[in-house]
């Protein structure tokens, strides 16, 4: 009713307009209030990681105020960053993630190009199939995959179980379908005239891909790379299943299996390790947030 009155009276009715803007101000204040509340909840665990990582074991077991550091120390960081074992975990994780990103891109860029531009028999079905594959969770496949690789070792004598590099073959099943899917979306949004022009100028398919599609769809490419990297870095189930020796572990599994010794929890070091493990994705996110979010939303809204 009130809005109707404004509409009729036009700009002359200042009073009504004023009350509406006062409502807006209050809505804004409430929004900030709740956003602050939710942001505190969202950031509570990482902040707590940071707080604990700065404490010595003595301070933790003294059970003083857990929300404050009374004697900040970097000894946990020093200990972990000079421990060969921890650096090994870090190295394994980094090597695997980088290799998986490379493999993922090598597979999904040509596939996405073919599926979005070169219509062929079964291409539409394949594109949908790729998306469905993305929905198959790791927890459904880990047992048969484990058995498959064990049998593969028995048959060929090439032992892949308990080798960190076996994960390089397995992680693409998690990254390739999604990356292909979002790349199809990005490629499909490129105007057809662009590649037609390239072909008229005598470009081959390969040249069309490298000279036109990859530069134009670069934001999508970055989003897909970030996705592939974070998924490989964060994956926990497969390394837990496939690797057991301490020198073959990746970061998340390594922290959990080596820093927790029996019932003794060295929380200062565990939190330091967790924070260092969370750092690479967080750093990437901090610098490339827009690409990260674009990739996240593209998966569901495109296509």
């Amino acid at each position: 009713m009130s809005s109707f009155a404004i509409d009729k009276a036009g700009p002359g009715r200042k009073v009504k307009f004023g009350s509406m803007s006062r409502d807006r101000v209050w809505a804004l204040r409430w929004s900030y209030f709740f956003l602050t509340l939710f942001a505190i909840i969202a950031l509570l665990p990482p902040i707590y990681m940071l707080i604990t990582s700065l404490k010595s074991s003595a301070e933790i077991s003294a059970a003083t105020n857990p929300w404050w550091v009374f004697h900040p120390t970097l000894s946990n960081y020093h200990e972990l960053l000079t421990s060969n074992q921890f650096l090994r975990f870090f190295g394994n994780s980094a090597a695997i993630s980088i290799a998986v990103v490379a493999i993922t891109m090598a597979i999904s860029i040509p596939a996405a190009f073919a599926l979005s531009r070169m219509k062929f028999w079964g291409s539409a079905t394949l594109a949908t199939g790729v998306f469905l594959t993305y929905l198959i969770p790791d927890s459904l496949l880990f047992i048969p995959l484990f058995k498959m690789f064990a049998l593969f070792g028995d048959w060929t004598g090439i032992q892949l179980i308990n080798r960190w590099y076996v994960l390089i073959f397995i992680y693409p099943t998690l990254t390739v379908p999604f990356c292909t899917w979002i790349m199809i979306g990005y490629f499909a949004s490129i105007p057809k005239e662009l590649d037609e022009a390239a072909i008229i100028d005598g470009a081959s398919w390969f040249q069309t891909l490298t000279r036109i599609f990859i530069p134009v769809a670069l934001p999508g490419l970055i989003a897909a790379t970030i996705f592939a990297f974070t998924v490989s870095w964060a994956q926990f189930l497969y390394p837990l299943v496939f690797t057991t020796s301490t020198d073959q572990l990746v970061l998340p599994v390594g922290i959990i299996t080596t820093l927790i010794k029996g019932d003794v929890f060295n929380w200062g070091q565990i939190m330091t390790g967790a924070l260092l493990g969370a750092a690479p994705p967080l750093v990437i996110y901090a610098f490339l947030m827009d690409y990260y979010i674009a990739g996240l939303t593209a998966g569901a809204t495109k296509g």
Binding site: S31, L35, A63, V130, P137, K147, P177, K192, A278, A300
Partner: protein, 312 residues
């Protein structure tokens, strides 16, 4: 769609072939190239996704030492065990409760974020998405430490208000609450981002029209926002239902299924039986129970995807 079907050799072909054969040649050539480009993808999916999925069905019909075919023996064994029904119940409670809360919180937070001036949204969105960015195994460790019974931050804080310490992960009810809480914390930002993106695509004119018609805020949400966001809500919910149902990391690290197997999900129980207990066939049978929910979700998503494909 055979509009740009010519490759490099086309000028030469142009001279010697008639129109029909030239077209056929080019088509054949293009589809061969396209097939070769998708071949690695097809191989990867066939060998490391489709084959293991069927291999899991095969494994599920073998006995423990994998020497004898037992048909549905493993399933019959599972159906007789109380733990199995407990896992079914807990998986459903866990997935449904967590998804509902994730969707609700995501929706509410997205509205608050949408309310503030767009220049400041980026900063807030950035902070609110942090739980989704941290590897879940790492953040769950922080939660494990927050829940710690004797030195924990939560019990200390409760103690300040004179509330007795809570055994967060030791008591069945609290343990179930805790795993759901951590899952909601981890997953709600994803919903928030999706809903925020979709809120931005609702045209302002619709809200103006609703305001002129005298709609209050609740009616605006019910009659304008929700119908406009129906698609995105459906697809994120289905997607999240699969991921939550198949969750492993959080429960594994927080409780390992305890106390007394009461917080096991299909994934963690399958891991315990199949890998830790080295009864691979039984583990495979357990993990196969995640397939029905997957099939249902796949059906709806597929319907949605093909519908959109036709619109485009």
């Amino acid at each position: 769609m055979v509009d740009v079907a010519v490759g490099r050799g086309s000028v030469k072909d142009l001279r010697r072939a008639s129109a029909a054969t030239r077209l056929r040649y080019a088509l054949k050539r293009k589809s061969t190239v396209a097939f070769l480009m998708t071949l690695p993808l097809i191989l990867l999916i066939a060998v490391l996704v489709i084959y293991p999925a069927f291999y899991a069905i095969h494994l599920a019909t073998l006995n423990k030492s994998m020497t004898r075919f037992v048909g549905f023996g493993n399933f019959r064994f599972l159906f007789k065990r109380d733990t199995f029904w407990m896992v079914v119940e807990q998986s459903c409670i866990f997935a449904i409760t967590a998804v509902i809360f994730k969707a609700l919180i995501g929706f509410i937070v997205a509205h608050f974020a949408h309310n503030i001036p767009s220049g400041k949204q980026r900063k807030w969105r950035g902070m609110l998405l942090v739980p989704w960015v941290i590897p879940p195994a790492m953040s769950t460790l922080a939660w494990l430490w927050l829940f710690d019974p004797s030195y924990s931050a939560f019990n200390y804080t409760l103690g300040l208000f004179g509330i007795a310490p809570v055994s967060w992960l030791g008591e069945v009810g609290w343990a179930r609450f805790s795993v759901i809480l951590v899952n909601v914390w981890y997953g709600a930002p994803f919903f928030m981002i999706m809903y925020l993106a979709s809120l931005k695509s609702v045209p302002d004119q619709l809200y103006e029209a609703a305001a002129i018609d005298g709609a209050n805020w609740w009616q605006r949400i019910w009659y304008v926002t929700l119908p406009m966001m129906r698609n995105i809500i459906a697809i994120t919910t289905l997607f999240s239902l699969i991921v939550t149902f198949a969750n492993f990391d959080i429960v594994r690290i927080l409780t390992s299924g305890g106390p007394l197997d009461q917080t096991h999900l299909f994934a963690t129980w399958a891991f315990k039986i199949g890998i830790e207990g080295s009864d691979i066939p039984l583990g495979a049978s357990i993990s196969l129970f995640m397939a029905p929910i997957l099939a249902i979700a796949a059906y709806f998503i597929l319907r949605d995807v093909t519908k959109r494909g036709n619109e485009a």
